[in-house]
Symmetry: C2
DNA sequence: TTGAAAGCGCTACCAG
DNA sequence: CTGGTAGCGCTTTCAA
């Protein structure tokens, strides 16, 4: 690979001058500039950013760790954050942990070796090992999707407790009173625990009742389908079902339909996420909408701020949600449209 | 940031020795090793990969350029390729061109400056400027989604012509004969041109007829919906509709339903991609399934091969597809289930 | 088994 | 306006 040195020789000037031309610095005679430029084109010189990065102690790299790509939250989030990072003239170094917790910690370490300037971590859990790894990280970390504020970790989270609470109220308002919950896994505080807890509080608050069950499985249509098949047998009185994600809810509705009941009628169903699936299914799915792309943008901005000022102005950002009323759970006073 | 130098001072040995310990080289006295290790832990030393990369002339970076994240093809593809790249001990440097062609060329240049070892490019077009940029690239480039083999660019593509041809046969077989096509934009050879051309050939071949129209729009449900609303007015005789993607098809079916006709009955509809949406919609959508994750894996493997051997064993990989029969277009002899 | 010194390709500082 | 020199933090000879 041809370097600064070669260009210098070819154009008969010093490396310093070539460097000046490349960086478009002022104070270079026009004729020299031209001469050097010619040499650069001639030998197809490409500046070595690695050397520059070493010299300047600055890589312009932002590490992003996700549990999987095939998910609305991550795909849309990445669209949002990449545009902000790009605007800031920085690069995204992407790692896919594939839901493997140990990998996340490993990536934080490797990213620090690569001297990333900051890390955005889409988390599905938060145990002490992860907290330690984040604390160890020289590069500032912004947590997305789980609340790390108790450990002083800047976080961008969804208002999961409120979503759960609101879900309880909606199901109750639609006439349901035997209500169950399908979550994911207990390690996922936000999606599994908080959403359930919100539901529990809503039912407790309004009717002094408790959820019938808290089932758990994967983030997929299939998982929702399989669980619900069994749940319908175990809980024949079920008339309201809150699912931690839209995909799970879609699967659940399929199982309900197959059992001879009508989702949205005998059994009200609610999801979370406002996946495109939810508007296309039959019946269409009532859900909650999060601005995933905005979440990505906000997180990126928060991280850039942290990198710039070594101290963030905000340490926790709670993204609000929007209620999407559709056929699977119309409120009693909202039967129109 | 503490460096090799500090560790050396702290442990009273030379930088060379510390380097040996870090890289776990043989030929270091156990006692020394221990002493150094202690110092490393004490000052929280983290090896500077940037310096290493400069020295070794190897970054372990693979550049990946995508037009957008929120798409089945890219999200699943990224899941596939990231696992291969990770296994190879390399990193993904991600760039999102946001459908902006000029950006793609810019990223190829910047990736070369960052000294990536290779580039995976999810392309939606292939003009001469892009071909030039690829040719200029020192890092090998593998094109995904568009055929660059004419320009000697290693490519992994979908069998779009066959998909179009098969679509024609299926629509015809289901009883349709006034058939239209909704594509994306004419720059997208693969998705827009090839799929249409396949359809055209099928109709020509079997019935000596031509497609009614070739409409164009965006990759979204909304776009399919809006286009179809108008198309139904312009072409009242329409009884078969082939859409370049499932999302477009979903939108089209909505417009058809609203017009009082039944998709899958009066008008047969076909999509491409086997999006989760397609199995959830009503009626469920007949489509073609591509193994997007496998495509990502194959592409990554092809690139790694290219990096390793400077010469690929395969220069073009055509991913096959699977026919998914659902309600929107049952073949005459396939009315069951 | 260890250390000294020479770079990797670039920028930055100081002379000229 | 231009060139020499000294690093950035590491690895890698070559000696000791």
């Amino acid at each position: 690979m041809t370097g600064l040195h070669d260009v210098a020789k070819l154009s008969g000037v010093s490396k310093s001058t070539v460097s000046r031309v490349i960086n478009n610095e002022s104070g270079v005679k026009a004729s020299t500039k031209e001469k050097v430029q010619k040499a650069i084109d001639a030998c197809g010189y490409i500046a070595n950013q690695v050397a520059r990065d070493l010299q300047s102690q600055k890589t312009n790299l932002i590490g992003v760790i996700v549990p999987r790509m095939y998910s609305n939250a991550t795909a849309k989030g990445l669209d949002g954050l990449s545009s902000i990072i790009d605007q800031a003239g920085k690069y995204v170094l992407l790692a896919n942990s594939q839901q493997n917790h140990a990998q996340e910690i490993e990536y934080i370490k490797r990213f620090n070796q690569k001297r990333v300037e900051g890390i955005l971590l889409y988390a599905t859990h938060l145990d002490s090992a992860l907290v330690d790894a984040i604390k160890q990280s020289k590069a500032p970390v912004v947590l997305i999707g789980q609340d790390g504020s108790l450990f002083n970790i800047p976080s961008v989270i969804y208002d999961d407790l409120s979503v759960g609470f609101s879900a309880g109220q909606r199901l109750f308002g639609a006439g349901a009173s035997n209500i169950g919950f399908i979550g994911v896994n207990s390690q996922d505080i936000a999606v599994d625990q908080c959403r359930f807890e919100g539901l529990r509080q809503a039912l407790q608050h309004t009717k002094q009742i408790s959820p019938l069950f808290h089932s758990r499985g994967a983030f997929s249509i299939e998982s929702g389908y399989q669980q619900t098949k069994q749940l319908l047998i175990d809980w024949p009185q079920l008339d309201g079902l809150f699912c931690a994600t839209d995909r799970i809810a879609i699967g659940a509705m399929k199982a309900i339909s197959e059992s001879g009941k009508v989702p949205g009628k005998e059994i009200k169903v609610l999801g979370v996420g406002n996946d495109e699936l939810s508007q296309v299914s039959t019946p269409s799915l009532s859900t909650f909408s999060y601005a995933f792309d905005l979440t990505g943008e906000k997180s990126a901005n928060m991280l850039l701020d942290l990198i710039e000022n070594k101290q963030s102005s905000v340490s926790k950002l709670v993204m609000s949600f929007e209620i999407i009323d559709r056929e699977s759970c119309y409120l009693s006073e909202n039967k129109t449209s």
